[in-house]
Symmetry: D2
Subunit: 399 residues, 4 copies
């Protein structure tokens, strides 16, 4: 099967099966409904598009994900139904890339099959690990036959429904700055769910609570990857996870835009269809431009990331900032074009807005990415001048 086929099949499945099954705007998908829809997705051959076929998925390469994930994201529950929603999707990639065969058998296979759920436990309460990983406070210390983990994590999306967590911890026994990732079963002794952070998002089920680790002992084979290489391993997940968020939310933005187009096609104001009123046309055109630019950047970043991790980092920063802001604007314009139905839950648009708004903060805030983008731009120019390029800002007075 070609990618194009899978895109088309996903498109039809999401629009014909998933969209009609959506819960009321602003409410999450119930577990029973998810299981039922996941079964239909498996039957339709659209389940787990990003997972290698040997682990039961559709086997797409990263550079091919965008169109499929956008189709999945056309429904806010689409990615969960197709089992390509965060945080599971990123965790599957990480397990595929760095887990042992035994770990893959034990954790990746059931996760890819939708039989289990997972979470990624990295972020900590301020001033712990957030934007700045160096501030990591959770520790794992060597004990007989394994490691004892202690610390508090926050905003651990999906934790309440997760079977397993990937936990980042400082491991001073490995090295003073060393951090290591561990696979920790959520039912293990010493793991408890804390304060539940309330959100207005619903696409990720299983809450966003704090998770406490108190003398939680795990065996040696719970180490994911190489001890001390936790941060480096996390990079494997980071870039793609950021882009898959872009892809999914871009799909949701297309849904919002199509909703607005349906509205402007038949709703009249002052005797003309909205679609022929210039102010509405300007909003529609700006959303078309935002969708086109975001899609072009995400495609470019995904292709770059396959080949060149370093160039991919800059490309994915740019794609992330632009896409997260563009989808917010597109949904906002759709809200505005749908008027009274837009600003209530008569239509799901305001709920979509609450889904996408946090993306301007998580996976690196717009401000943090802009800072990084600017620094890389300055460094790039520095290298060029060092290599002999003429300095360009010499004023006429100084010549």
């Amino acid at each position: 099967m070609t990618t194009t086929d899978l895109v088309e099949r996903t498109r039809r499945f999401v629009r014909d099966v998933v969209v009609p099954a959506e819960p009321p705007a602003g409410t999450p998908l119930e577990p029973a409904a998810r299981r039922s829809l996941q079964r239909r997705a498996r039957e339709a051959g659209v389940f787990a598009p990003h997972v290698p076929t040997r682990f039961g998925g559709q086997g797409l390469r990263l550079g091919e994900w965008s169109a499929v994930f956008q189709e999945a994201g056309y429904s806010p529950i689409g990615p969960a139904v197709l089992n390509c929603m965060a945080p599971d999707e990123g965790n599957m990639l990480l397990l595929e890339r760095i887990a042992t065969v035994e770990q893959q058998e034990r954790y990746l296979v059931p996760l890819a099959a939708g039989a289990t759920r997972s979470c990624f436990a990295m972020t900590e309460p301020h001033p712990g690990a957030g934007s700045d990983p160096a501030a990591l406070t959770t520790t794992a210390r060597r004990v007989d036959g394994g490691w004892a983990i202690d610390g508090e994590k926050r905003f651990i999306s999906g934790a309440e429904e997760a079977d397993v967590a990937i936990v980042m911890a400082r491991t001073p026994d490995v090295g003073p700055e060393a951090a290591t990732m561990f696979l920790v079963e959520m039912g293990a002794d010493g793991v408890s769910i804390g304060h539940g952070i309330r959100t207005l998002e619903t696409a990720i089920t299983g809450g966003h609570p704090h998770v406490h680790f108190r003398d939680c002992v795990v065996p040696d084979d719970a180490v994911l990857g190489t001890p001390g290489e936790g941060f480096r391993h996390a990079q494997v997940r980071l870039g793609p996870a950021r882009l898959t968020h872009c892809m999914r939310w871009l799909g949701l933005a297309r849904r919002a835009h199509d909703t607005a187009l349906d509205r402007v096609r038949h709703r009249e104001l002052f005797g003309s269809p909205l679609a022929e009123l210039g102010i509405a046309q300007a909003l529609v055109a700006d959303s078309e431009i935002d969708l086109a630019t975001a899609a072009a950047l995400v495609d470019r970043a995904a292709r770059t990331l396959e080949d060149d991790a370093r160039a991919g980092a800059q490309a994915s920063s740019i794609a992330k900032v632009h896409c997260s802001e563009a989808v917010g604007r597109v949904v906002d314009r759709a809200v505005q074009l749908c008027g009274g139905d837009g600003v209530t839950l008569e239509l799901p648009l305001l709920a979509f807005q609450n889904e996408v708004r946090p993306f301007r903060v998580y996976d690196g805030s717009s401000e943090t990415h802009r800072w990084a983008i600017a620094r890389r731009a300055v460094a790039r120019r520095e290298r060029e001048v060092d290599a002999g390029e003429r300095v360009l800002d010499r004023a006429e007075a100084d010549r």
Copy 2:
């Protein structure tokens, strides 16, 4: 030679030879200097990159132009030096595609060699042909052995230095709505230069005057393409010409951005390099994003246009609007980052701004393109719903 080689050669030629030879900011390139620089461009093997090798150029396909044209545009005089500036560049494309072999020999070969100049005489004084070609008022009537052209054209860029004009005229003898293009030598009887429109642009030399045709008789072989097919032929030129403007101005925007980067790298404010001040970083990052989005859209549109004229039209509209506005923002931010030198002619940035500002109006204004983009979006959705897609704007109250 590969495209990559030509990009690199063009980059080096423009930065090492052209930039140092630029006239003072805001002043045009003198003809003698242009001839001299063009000779060096020929020697460097970077002349006429877009022209087929059989007509003396570098033979790039449209889908490969972008990187080379951006390098050319890094200097405001670069495209003229490389003989890929409007309006000649678009006229060469048109001659290549629809002229007879004799016409190509007579007009395209010397034009591609830089020995002659040309202009494109389509726009008319209001309410004649401007945004709306149906309003064309210039006529060409059958006379013995040829055609007599009468009418007034305006904003005919380059006309004062042009040897030949491509003139669009209504030809009622062909059909009531028929328009035809003619190759008219500027020295012919009945051709005169009228009111010179003053501009702040300098990249196109030869003025932007009105041109009058009064009983200007041309022979039958002056018809370019098929009689009556003038508007259809013009489309051949329109899409690519719009994109090459994008490419050139994108190159100029990169120059402005690099100038600003050079400034922020070493200029200090309140004891820190500007490059480390957040407000400057935000400006730099936004320009990086604008450059990346514009480049991605232009590349996509150029590739699309090679294969599919219809899809290319929508893609090139989106690219044109976004790029024309993005380059304006990038140059504006560079002006701001360079402070007092930015807002005077100590640096050429304000002159660059005056070069790119009109592009938000010509080749279809932002407003006209947004109108077209919105209409195509609505039509696309209309087709989807007609083909069975679910209408999405049904309110909860109506279910």
Copy 3:
């Protein structure tokens, strides 16, 4: 007591009493809590600031409301506690201006005292009365001793808790285009609550349902104002109601901004307080500018509206568009500055965003107001030119 005193007392009451009593972010104020807080507001002498003293309020003139309403709006429940929330507040103004003494005694006095609630039943399901009052479909027909009302209203804010509704109905017995307002008790025969529109707003309690009138007979003295003058009377309410929304949401935006300032004062990133990072400073400064511009426009519009209804209409359109958009931007920046706490309900900012977002649609959408503003601008210029001003757009070519 001076206005300044009342501003200061309101400020202290809202910050010291109301803010600490707020329900969790995103949840409405319970009726019992409201009654208790209203009692304290009465004791503090800050209740019903906009109501004339003879009806039990603080007696402020419209031109003096802004500062007090902004202080009230500093808490999302502040205006309800102070009994100056929509729709009651606008209804009180209407009753004060056009009701009979008997109607005022019966409806205004208990409403001003907080003993009853009210709603304003004008909007209808599409294509009925929304932006375009001419489309009004609800009718009131003369019957023996009164009027029989039939029709459906939608988005009737507060209807579920209201004791009385002001209902706009077409009255063909008065005249072909005539509309009349009626005071209808919600418990009357023929009044029923229909579909409840779900919203993410909580500041107005009592829902936003559809309300059905089926052969609802009211006596003659239920007419509010003059029969047939319904639309003219509604104007009395419209301008001020639009501005009081501005004032209240401006207060809420100040609260969001202060929340962000508290965050940037002590939260560090990369070793510096956020308050010293330029990107954060740019966001803070833009919010300061938005708050200052919005406040200046609202003050100006309120003062103008006191003296000159016509000039006030233009001033209040401009104030409404700008303020509704500015408060959205200010809250959005606060969300962004507060990062992870901003995009969850750890802080109430996202809930504030959901409160203010609909204001870009109700009371005339941004698009409708822009249309009106542009038309008035063109008409103003038309009058100037008619009165002899020189036409300014003559091109050099035409001189």
Copy 4:
């Protein structure tokens, strides 16, 4: 005469006399034409509106300037004709406030009469005094009977036509950080005009050159104000000068807006007047909003500055940033609405853009003002919390 009368008289004079006498777009007013127009302004009783009547002006208080200056600014040459253009206007204020009676007689009286011109020599080549006055490098050292000034100033607007300069110099003989202002005649020994900075502005005639002082000896009575108080004295000029730029450019923005209104009133596109096309309406409405907000902020700042220098500083920073950006947007929209005539010199709009663009940099760049505005906002909030206000950013998890 009331202010209203003067506003009206100025309006009529500028529109009926000055606008028709404007030189071609983008070219400066010739000295002879200026003198002739100034004579007519004197006869019309509109000359030097800001100068106290005892010095020959119209005697307006600062709080009343805005409307008159806006009318003056409706023509780019209006302020020069009315003798209320920078830098003379700010210099007159400074002389009025801090000069001795003898200095006023000698310098202010002829300056107010339009018989002489002046410049303000404070800015220096980087890294000297620019945004940061502490970096001042020009010095004045005590010599027998006076002071010897040495140093280089840059961007000294009007210097080539000026009779006298107000020069800021470091005076180490007064104190280690002390700076002092001097009145220096431009013909004095040791004063020479250096590199002329080319600009695209034309409203200030007399160039923007560097000015060199080499052992330029001035007598003791050349000290303006108190020795060592130079920076404090400069503040007297700074706030009002910033606001008068706002006022004048706001007037020019109104002119651009009226020009666009004239264009949209009669120019048709696709068979409708532009004025009825929504995209044009959106541009017109946004400009109305920008003009209204800018005017409201400038008025507020001017009134505040009369009473309270400290509050005035914050108000004038906000007004300056907003107004400088708003006028740029208004002119830009007018350019766009006038299409091909907008982006050439067929209309003066592009020249207006070049007049107003630098204002986002001089008198404190947008970035510097945003930085200052943010710092003052944080400090304001700091004081409030210190005085007992509740800290607002406490997260739910921390309660």
